[in-house]
């Protein structure tokens, strides 16, 4: 017995890391924060209307609607998947809601629930197709459903617009609570919720695990398919929430709303440090990235730059922000 103990040396494993400034500061979020500050300074420099509370506050209402989807999109990208059907899901849920209210004459509350259900079902279909037909990959499936969902929206509403919602419905897009836009409050709440779910709970841990190694995750007893379906459903659901806010802001809807949203959303997530190679990303980074892109666009709008310049600036920002750390890493290695 004694001899056996000697076959190896006992070792201890450290469970506390010594404090390190490097670890604290070498984080993507700091870089993003710097960019955000730069954007705010730039904004106040170029436009006198930019840097004051009402302006910054109302500015958020311009870009936060689509930003709601960025959270589940981040989850999807962490799982090495992608969902390019979210814009179409927004359109379909919105059209369903408006049609049920205007044509079917259902109460608005019911129409809103139907809108959420539509979004969730769209997400569910994406998720189910993806896990049932693994050989297809998420890009293919959501490319197909992207065309399909918008197609259905066209079938329902054809060339009509549907609107004339009750007065109170405008609250979603235009309302304030204690002087803070309702949309901003919802965004903050969702950020907190998704931050907790992704970083503090078993569900979030599983999402990261799947992004890192789906096979090993399955072998470790994670129900990979179930997690995936849930996350895609969440994306659909939040697309529906976006549909509510967007429809409320516009007061009416059409089948062509929210075109190209998916690309904006993916850009926000990517700038926020979510890697489409999977397994990486933080909600905090994504939140900062949303404000960077949003305020940049808003600020440039205030000085009436043509929107094509804005395209170039966002593109360049995206590349620089992702490339600079890589280049830095390359330098260090040399």
């Amino acid at each position: 017995m004694e001899q056996k103990k000697q076959t190896y040396q006992p070792r201890t494993l450290e469970t506390n890391l010594p404090f390190s400034w490097k670890r604290l500061f070498f984080q993507w979020e700091w870089m993003l924060l710097l960019i955000l500050i730069a954007v705010l300074l730039l904004g106040s420099y170029v436009s006198p209307y930019f840097l004051n509370y009402p302006s910054l506050r109302d500015g958020t209402m311009v870009f936060l609607d689509k930003a709601l989807i960025v959270f589940p999109m981040a989850m999807i990208m962490i799982m090495r998947d992608i969902d390019i059907s979210v814009g179409s899901t927004v359109a379909l849920s919105s059209v369903v809601m408006a049609t049920l209210y205007t044509s079917a004459g259902l109460p608005m509350e019911v129409a809103i629930i139907a809108c959420l259900a539509t979004g969730a079902i769209c997400g569910l279909i994406n998720g189910l197709l993806i896990v049932k037909f693994k050989e297809l990959s998420a890009v293919i499936v959501t490319l197909g459903t992207m065309i399909l969902y918008r197609g259905i929206a066209y079938i329902i509403l054809e060339d009509q617009a549907a609107g004339g919602f009750p007065e109170w419905f405008g609250f979603f897009g235009w309302g304030y609570v204690f002087g803070i836009p309702f949309l901003l409050i919802v965004f903050a709440a969702l950020a907190l919720l998704f931050g907790i779910v992704l970083h503090k709970t078993t569900f979030g841990r599983k999402v990261f695990a799947i992004g890192n190694n789906p096979t090993a995750s399955r072998f470790s007893g994670i129900k990979v398919d179930k997690v995936k379906v849930i996350v895609f459903m969440l994306a659909g659901l939040l697309a529906a929430v976006t549909a509510i806010f967007l429809t409320s802001r516009m007061g009416s809807t059409r089948p062509n709303i929210a075109t190209m949203y998916e690309l904006d959303i993916i850009a926000m997530a990517a700038l926020g440090g979510v890697s489409t190679a999977g397994g990486k990303g933080r909600v905090l980074g994504v939140v900062i990235a949303v404000f960077i892109i949003g305020y940049l666009q808003y600020g440039l709008g205030l000085i009436n730059l043509p929107s094509q310049i804005f395209l170039i600036i966002v593109g360049a920002l995206l590349i620089l922000s992702v490339a600079i750390p890589k280049l830095g890493g390359m330098m260090k290695r040399k």
Binding site: Y49, F63, G163, R249, S252, P255, I257, G301, N304, P306
Partner: protein, 326 residues
């Protein structure tokens, strides 16, 4: 539900210096729109105002709402908008009106509640009817015709098509049959496919009306490539520069359009009058459009509008003058 605190007390009045006139077009890079913006810009400058020209990069209402928000923050005095959607801009434009900003729509109307007045490039009834008259003349009052429109939800196009159908009910056109309304979505490739499909599905087709600049150019191209000039007539609304080739080759004997520069000008005068408080958009008011003449504010559904004359006819005789203009 807290009431929104207004981000600035009022629009124009408190501002000294030149007044700010903003024009929001449907999207950037639209040739027709660019010309309209040119007309607006030069006129406002002449009148001594400050001009802001903005368009989203996609032709969506969402993009226009964003821009309108930004214009409100900048405390402009007048917003002129060519709406991507008649209703969807209502909340944003109402917010602008609440803050004392004058709103007018140009080219594509927004609904009555969200504007003070609409500047109509031409009388939609005339636009519709004149194209049927033209087609009838081209095909000798007899045969199948088809319409190639833009997107299925373009409001002005749909209005014109309605008027075309009304015109067709007349006894004179009893031998003309409208076989199909196709939609090319204002995309070149789609418009080409749609045109080709029309030719195949309706071998006896005599004419195509394309009340959209992209559609008519695409159709002109298809008819040219297939060598169908003289067999199938093409008319509609097109840009002289894009249509010059086809008008000269006879593919399209003639077509119509108003002068977008003049539309921009008219919008600028109307905006100026609104901004100066000379008019309010009430029915019956007279608006002085300087060299475009004086027009009366007339009814348009629940709102009011002014109209800028008949569509202009472009044919062999005058196309060369115009093709370099726009």
């Amino acid at each position: 539900q807290g009431a929104p605190e207004s981000s600035g007390t009022s629009g124009g009045e408190s501002n000294d210096g030149p007044k700010k006139y903003a024009f929001v077009f449907k999207n950037t890079g639209n040739p027709y729109g660019e010309k309209m913006l040119d007309g607006f810009e030069s006129t406002i400058k002449e009148l001594g105002g400050e001009v802001i020209l903005r368009s989203p990069d996609q032709p969506t209402a969402e993009g226009q709402i964003q821009i309108i928000e930004q214009l409100i923050t900048q405390k402009v005095d007048v917003i002129a908008v060519a709406g991507n959607d008649p209703d969807a801009l209502e909340p944003a434009l109402k917010k602008a009106k609440d803050q004392g900003i004058k709103v007018l729509s140009v080219d594509s109307a927004v609904n009555a509640a969200s504007r003070d007045i609409h500047v109509n490039q031409a009388n939609p009834e005339r636009i519709g009817r004149v194209q049927i008259e033209a087609v009838s003349e081209m095909i000798g009052g007899e045969g199948q015709i088809a319409v190639l429109s833009a997107t299925s939800q373009a409001t002005n196009q749909n209005t014109w098509i309605e008027w075309m159908k009304k015109e067709l009910e007349k006894e004179d056109y009893k031998d003309i049959e409208l076989v199909k309304v196709a939609y090319g979505d204002d995309l070149r490739d789609k418009s080409v496919s749609e045109t080709e499909a029309l030719l195949k599905s309706y071998p006896d087709l005599k004419a195509i009306i394309a009340p959209t600049t992209v559609g008519i150019a695409a159709a002109g191209k298809v008819l040219t490539d297939k060598g169908l000039e003289g067999q199938i007539a093409l008319t509609g609304l097109g840009l002289p520069s894009e249509m010059a080739t086809y008008i000269k080759s006879g593919v399209s004997p003639w077509m119509y359009l108003w002068n977008p520069i003049d539309v921009g000008k008219g919008a600028a005068y109307a905006a100026y009058e609104l901004g100066e408080g000379n008019i309010t958009g009430e029915l019956g008011e007279k608006v002085d459009l300087r060299d475009l003449g004086e027009v009366e504010v007339v009814e348009d559904g629940e709102g009011t509008q002014i109209m800028l004359g008949d569509p202009f006819k472009f044919d062999e005789t005058n196309i060369d003058e115009w093709k370099d203009v726009y």
